[in-house]
C-alpha cells in the first residue's frame, strides 16, 4: 500500500516536527501576553489593541492542571473509532506563558496514569485517517513515559 500523507488536522496550530513539536501561538509584544490559538490581527489584552503580534512556538512542556476522559464516543465532528476507544484529555499549565492548554492525552495513557502537577510534554499523533491522509494532532504525554504511539507505525 502506498504511504499515506501526514497532514495537520488543523492548519497552523502546531509544528509538524516529530521530534520536538510545538504549539504555535502568538505574543502581544507590548504586554508580553500570549495567545493560543494564535491571534494575529488584534491583541486581546485590553488597551493593547495597537500592539504588534508575533508568531511564537509555545513551551513544549508544562504541568498537569487537571484531567478527565471520554468514556463514550464524542459526537461528530469528532471522528470516532468503531468501537470507541476511551481516551484521556488533559489541561496543562505552561509556566512561561501562564496559560492552560487542553489536548488529548497520548494513546495508551489512561486517567489512572496521571497525577496532579506531573510534567507533560507535547507530542504528535494521528487523530484519524482516510484513504489518502493521516490527520495529525497535538497530544499531551507524561514526560519520559513510554506509551504506545497508537496506529502511527
Amino acid at each position: 500500500m502506498p504511504q499515506k500523507t501526514r497532514v495537520p488536522a488543523v492548519e497552523g496550530w502546531f509544528t509538524m516536527d516529530d521530534g520536538q513539536p510545538s504549539l504555535i501561538g502568538s505574543r502581544c509584544t507590548d504586554s508580553g501576553s500570549y495567545f493560543f490559538p494564535k491571534e494575529m490581527e488584534h491583541s486581546r489584552v485590553p488597551g493593547f489593541g495597537d500592539s504588534k503580534l508575533e508568531e511564537v512556538n509555545l513551551s513544549r512542556t508544562g504541568t498537569l492542571w487537571s484531567w478527565t476522559d471520554a468514556a463514550y464516543a464524542p459526537p461528530p465532528p469528532f471522528v470516532a473509532q468503531d468501537p470507541h476507544v476511551p481516551f484521556a484529555i488533559a489541561a496543562v499549565e505552561l509556566a512561561e506563558e501562564q496559560m492552560v492548554i487542553m489536548g488529548q492525552v497520548a494513546t495508551g495513557i489512561s486517567v489512572d496514569d496521571l497525577s496532579m502537577g506531573m510534567e507533560m510534554e507535547l507530542v504528535l499523533e494521528t487523530l484519524y485517517e482516510d484513504d489518502d491522509n493521516e490527520y495529525i494532532v497535538w497530544k499531551w504525554k507524561p514526560t519520559g513515559s513510554v506509551a504506545s504511539t497508537g496506529d502511527d507505525s
Binding site: 476522559d69 484529555i89 492552560v100
Partner: protein, 402 residues
C-alpha cells in the same frame, strides 16, 4: 416613603409559568406558548396588554429554528408588539430577562413577557452542522473530542485534588437534588436516587458519572415582568421583585479553562484581574441588589454536573474556596439547611433546555419567595439568587426579593 432606592423601583414578577421538562419531541413553539399562557394566567394579564416580548434564543431544532421573540409574538397572535431575541448559550434566559428589565426601567414599556423554550436532541449537545475550522466550538469536538462533560470532568478532578472532594460528595449532590426534584411537577426526573445508584451509574467523564451530568431536555419557562408602578396599579401585594441582574463577561486574563476554548488567557505581562470570572458573576448581582451572600435564603445554581454545584457555593460566597464539601456534608445546602441550594431539583432533575433554563431558575425563586413551592418550600424564603454561565463567556445571575 424615604429615599427612593433601586430596590423600591425594582421591576416586579407578576407571573411565572412553565411547560414541564421532558423529552416530548414536539416543536419548541408549542412549549413556549404553553409557558406564556401559564405566566399570563398567573399574572392575570391578557396577551393584548403585553408591550414587549423578550425571547431566549432557541439553540437548535424546531421551525423556525433560531428565532425566538418574534416566533412567540406570532404564535400568541401578532399584536405589533416589539420584541428582542437574546442568544447567550446557557445564559440566554437571563439576557432575555435583562432585555425586558431594561425596556421597563427605561420607561419604554411596563408589561413585558420573557420566554425561553427549546427542543433538544438526544445525547451530547454538539456543534451545529456546517461548522468550520474557524469555529472554536466545532474545532474542540473535532480536534480533541472535548464534549461539555469534558470540561465538567476537569473541574471535578481539580476539586478532588485541591480540596479533597470525593466521588461520594459528587454523588451526594445528585441525591440531595433528586429528593427535591421528585416533588417538583415541572421536573423531568421524579425519582429520588440513592448514593449507591448514583455511584453505580457508568463513568462518562472521569470522575463524573452518568447520573451526575445533566441531560438535555425539552421545556419552556416564561415570566410576566412589570414596572413597580404597574405592580402597584395591579394591586400586587409584596410582589417578588427583581433587584439584581448580572450579565457580566470575564476580565482579561480569564485564567480558568472554559467551554469551548482550547486554552485560558495568558496571565503573562498583565495585571492580576482579581476575582475569577465565576466569582464576578454573583458579585455584580449582589452589588446591584445591595445585599450579600449572608442575606440569601436559597440559591438556584447551574449544576451542569453535580461537582459544579460545589464550585458555585464558593463562587456565590456561601463559603470560602475549598469549603463547599463541608457545607454539603453538614447539610447546610439541603432543604431545611442554612441556605438550601437547588430546591427545584436543579438541572440534575430537569435536564437542560438551554434558553429556558435560566428563566426556570427565576420561576423557582418566585414560587419559593411567594411560599408556593409545596413540599420543596424553603421555610420563610425572602431572598434568593440564581447563577449560571453560558459558554463563550456569558455570566448570568438574578437576585429576587419579596
Amino acid at each position: 416613603m424615604g429615599v427612593e432606592t433601586i430596590a423600591d423601583e425594582a421591576i416586579a414578577v407578576a407571573g411565572v409559568g412553565m411547560h414541564p421538562w421532558g423529552k416530548w419531541g414536539r416543536n419548541f413553539v408549542e412549549y413556549g406558548v404553553h409557558a406564556i399562557e401559564a405566566a399570563l394566567a398567573d399574572a392575570g394579564v391578557a396577551w393584548s396588554e403585553v408591550q414587549f416580548v423578550a425571547g431566549g434564543g432557541t439553540v437548535r431544532n424546531g421551525y423556525p429554528g433560531y428565532v425566538a421573540g418574534a416566533t412567540f409574538a406570532q404564535a400568541m397572535g401578532w399584536t405589533g408588539v416589539p420584541i428582542s431575541t437574546s442568544y447567550a448559550a446557557c445564559a440566554s434566559g437571563v439576557q432575555a430577562i435583562q432585555s425586558a428589565r431594561a425596556q421597563i426601567l427605561a420607561g419604554f414599556c411596563d408589561v413585558a413577557v420573557v420566554v425561553g423554550s427549546d427542543t433538544t436532541p438526544k445525547g451530547f449537545l454538539k456543534p451545529n452542522e456546517g461548522g468550520s475550522g474557524t469555529d472554536p466550538d466545532w474545532l474542540r469536538f473535532h480536534l480533541m473530542g472535548a464534549t461539555n462533560p469534558t470540561y465538567f470532568g476537569l473541574y471535578a478532578r481539580r476539586r478532588m485534588e485541591l480540596f479533597g472532594a470525593t466521588e461520594e460528595d459528587f454523588a451526594q449532590v445528585k441525591v440531595k437534588n433528586s429528593q427535591c426534584g421528585a416533588t417538583n411537577p415541572n421536573a423531568r426526573y421524579n425519582k429520588a436516587f440513592t448514593l449507591e445508584e448514583v455511584l453505580a451509574s457508568p463513568m462518562v467523564a472521569s470522575p463524573l458519572r452518568l447520573l451526575e451530568i445533566c441531560a438535555t431536555s425539552d421545556g419552556a419557562a416564561a415570566m410576566v415582568l412589570v414596572s413597580a408602578e404597574r405592580a402597584r396599579k395591579m394591586g400586587l401585594k409584596s410582589p417578588v421583585r427583581v433587584t439584581g441582574v448580572s450579565t457580566v463577561t470575564p476580565t482579561y486574563p480569564n485564567s480558568v479553562i472554559e467551554m469551548p476554548n482550547f486554552s485560558t488567557d495568558s496571565a503573562t505581562g498583565v495585571a492580576d484581574p482579581g476575582p475569577t470570572f465565576r466569582d464576578s458573576i454573583a458579585a455584580a448581582a449582589y452589588e446591584q441588589a445591595g445585599i450579600g451572600p449572608d442575606d440569601l435564603d436559597l440559591a438556584e445554581v447551574y449544576d451542569l454536573s453535580s461537582a459544579l454545584e460545589l464550585d458555585w457555593y464558593e463562587n456565590i460566597g456561601l463559603c470560602k474556596e475549598g469549603e463547599a464539601e463541608k457545607m454539603l456534608r453538614d447539610g447546610d445546602t439541603s432543604l431545611g439547611g442554612k441556605c438550601p441550594v437547588n430546591p427545584s431539583g436543579g438541572l440534575g432533575a430537569f435536564g437542560e433546555a438551554v434558553p429556558a433554563q435560566a428563566i426556570a431558575q427565576v420561576c423557582e425563586l418566585t414560587w419559593q419567595l411567594r411560599g408556593q413551592a409545596g413540599e420543596r418550600q424553603v421555610e420563610g424564603a425572602k431572598v434568593g439568587l440564581t447563577i449560571n454561565q453560558g459558554l463563550f463567556g456569558h455570566g448570568s445571575s438574578v437576585i429576587c426579593q419579596s
